[in-house]
């Protein structure tokens, strides 16, 4: 017997006038803001356009990117090394890494950068040899540590100390069972770290590291303490001051910082997707998801290999 088609429900949704009221308010505010930005002569949009692709500005952008990448690479290398040292069994190495984090997190980055800049004055010669014994190689500090190297060293060493804690919490978030499984298969500690633990820890490490990278992009402007004077903030400020038009050049710099940050965010999205592989299947959730959790977080919990860590989820 054919089933009679039931009368389908065509109910009106609950009216949500607040949605439209908010939309109206936002549209008006945005219009006012845009209008204010465009018509206010103090912003000198013509000057912004003139200097946006000025060769000095573009090259300054290049230096800023170089400093950011260099400092982050150094920082990540140091962070992974010191985080592993801190988790290891060697008390000397644990101590060394603790002191490193303690010192570089505990002193202002500005002061550190000034000291890196002063290094050639404090130690005019660098030598390689045995303490109190013979010296084999002697360099002029000036030649080895120029302003650019000092800037990257200063930023990178400081960043490494912060990232080290992030990496450590990432490594700790990987389930003990993963260590046991790979150990039982006969893998050495280093193989287990490289193949099993670090790839999983990356899921926890990448989001805050993206955050740190974006923060580093702007921290590079502090290298004038070295002094290193080729990066974006310094160059745009200098041009602005010379033209007596600081505001449009501040805008130029802000536009570039915003563009690079946007690109970094896209990159971070893809990195998260990569390290989330194997974790994004819904339906096999073994740990009960908490309402309001991101899909990624739920997937991580579902794998059962990491413990929920409220501090690990840092969104820029």
């Amino acid at each position: 017997m054919p089933q009679p088609t039931p009368e389908l429900i065509h109910a009106r949704p609950v009216p949500r006038p607040s949605l439209w009221i908010w939309a109206g308010i936002v549209v008006v505010l945005v219009a006012m803001l845009v209008n204010g930005l465009l018509t206010n002569p103090n912003y000198h949009w013509d000057v912004v356009a003139e200097f946006l692709f000025d060769p000095r500005v573009v090259s300054a952008l290049g230096w800023t990117l170089l400093l950011t990448v260099g400092a982050m690479l150094l920082g990540i290398t140091l962070a992974i090394t010191t985080a592993i040292m801190r988790m290891g069994t060697n008390p000397i190495l644990r101590g060394v890494s603790w002191v490193y984090i303690w010192f570089f997190r505990g002193t202002p980055i500005y002061t550190q950068l000034v000291f890196w800049g002063l290094l050639p004055v404090l130690y005019p010669k660098l030598s390689l040899g045995i303490p109190f014994g013979p010296e084999w190689f002697v360099f002029d500090t000036q030649d080895v540590i120029n302003a650019g190297v000092a800037a990257v060293l200063g930023l990178g060493l400081n960043e490494g100390a912060y990232l080290s804690e992030i990496v450590r919490s990432g490594l700790n978030s990987v389930d003990k069972g993963q260590w046991e499984a790979s150990t039982a298969l006969g893998m050495k500690r280093s193989t287990t770290l490289r193949r099993i633990v670090i790839p999983q820890a990356m899921r926890v490490i990448v989001p805050p590291t993206g955050n740190e990278t974006i923060s580093m992009l702007k921290t590079t402007s502090l290298v004038l303490a070295v002094p290193f004077t080729l990066e974006l903030t310094f160059v745009t400020n200098a041009i602005g001051n010379r033209n007596f038009l600081p505001i449009p050049l501040l805008i130029v710099a802000a536009i570039y910082y915003l563009v690079i940050t946007s690109i970094l965010m896209v990159g971070q999205h893809f990195l998260e997707a990569y390290y989330g592989r194997g974790f994004d299947t819904e339906g096999t959730v073994r740990t009960k998801p908490v309402k309001g959790m991101s899909k990624r977080q739920r997937a991580i919990l579902a794998s059962g290999t990491v413990h929920p860590d409220p501090n690990a989820e840092v969104t820029p």
Partner: protein
């Protein structure tokens, strides 16, 4: 012929907690030994001591005639290096209650990992072995699935394949079906039975008394860190001599 496993007076302490209190156990080659006992009696600790996941506090543990984790030089004991212990472990497969598959790798990659990293096989050889082992546990068609895309029973079978890919002399199982939904227990036990039939030496901690009856050559009953009684399934399960053993089976049967 040397025994596959020989535990002699094995003690294990966690700080002040005395968990194993002098365990003597012999498992011959090709034998299936099932370990039963109440929770907290030290069953997991015992099999984790066999592959050095835990260091024993006293006694000696031999696997295939080789002293585990230690060597004797001129009458003094020395700990083996990480590398030497890793080599000893690579001959002993282990299957965990919670599977512990590598979640960022597919089933095939999970099984290939140790042959690649530990046995240093090239990719093609490792993949051939991995596919053979997945076939053996009936999961050829799931090779490219991630663990999160597999049922618990399938995950545990991948974990068995992963251990077998190292071509171990001995397989340890720590409650391999305890984390599974009841309807998935059978498929894992079936794989273990066929493994037993192929002559693999196995030590199995389980609460599946039916499996013990059917497959075990030797049933070991542990309580409070000692082996209370051992023998054939018929002796230990159906006609226990010790009161503690009787109490236990009265409760679980």
């Amino acid at each position: 012929m040397t025994a596959m496993v020989e535990a002699k007076g094995v003690h294990k302490l966690f700080g002040d907690l005395h968990v194993l209190k002098g365990v003597d156990l012999t498992v011959e080659q090709g034998e299936v030994c099932v370990v039963l006992g109440p929770s907290g009696s030290g069953k997991s600790t015992l099999i984790r001591c066999i592959n050095e996941l835990e260091q024993i506090s006293a006694g000696r543990m031999f696997v295939d005639g080789e002293l585990m984790g230690l060597k004797e030089v001129r009458g003094r004991l020395h700990r083996l290096s990480d590398k030497e212990i890793a080599r000893q472990r690579s001959k002993v497969g282990m299957v965990f209650q919670r599977f512990n598959l590598f979640p960022h790798m597919t089933a095939l990659e999970n099984v290939m990992e140790a042959p690649r990293q530990v046995r240093r096989l090239d990719k093609a050889a490792a993949e051939r072995i991995a596919r053979e082992q997945l076939e053996r546990v009936g999961l050829s068609d799931r090779a490219d699935h991630y663990p999160s895309q597999l049922s618990g029973g399938q995950q545990q079978r991948v974990a068995i394949a992963r251990a077998l890919a190292m071509e171990p002399d001995l397989m340890l199982f720590d409650e391999p079906t305890s984390a599974l939904d009841p309807e998935l227990v059978g498929e894992v036990l079936a794989v273990m039975k066929s493994l037993a039939a192929s002559g693999m030496t196995m030590i199995v901690v389980t609460h599946e008394v039916g499996f013990a009856r059917e497959v075990a050559d030797n049933v070991v009953f542990m309580d409070d860190g000692v082996i209370v009684e051992q023998g054939t399934p018929a002796q230990v399960i159906d006609a226990p001599r010790e009161a503690r053993t009787r109490d236990f089976f009265d409760k679980v049967l």
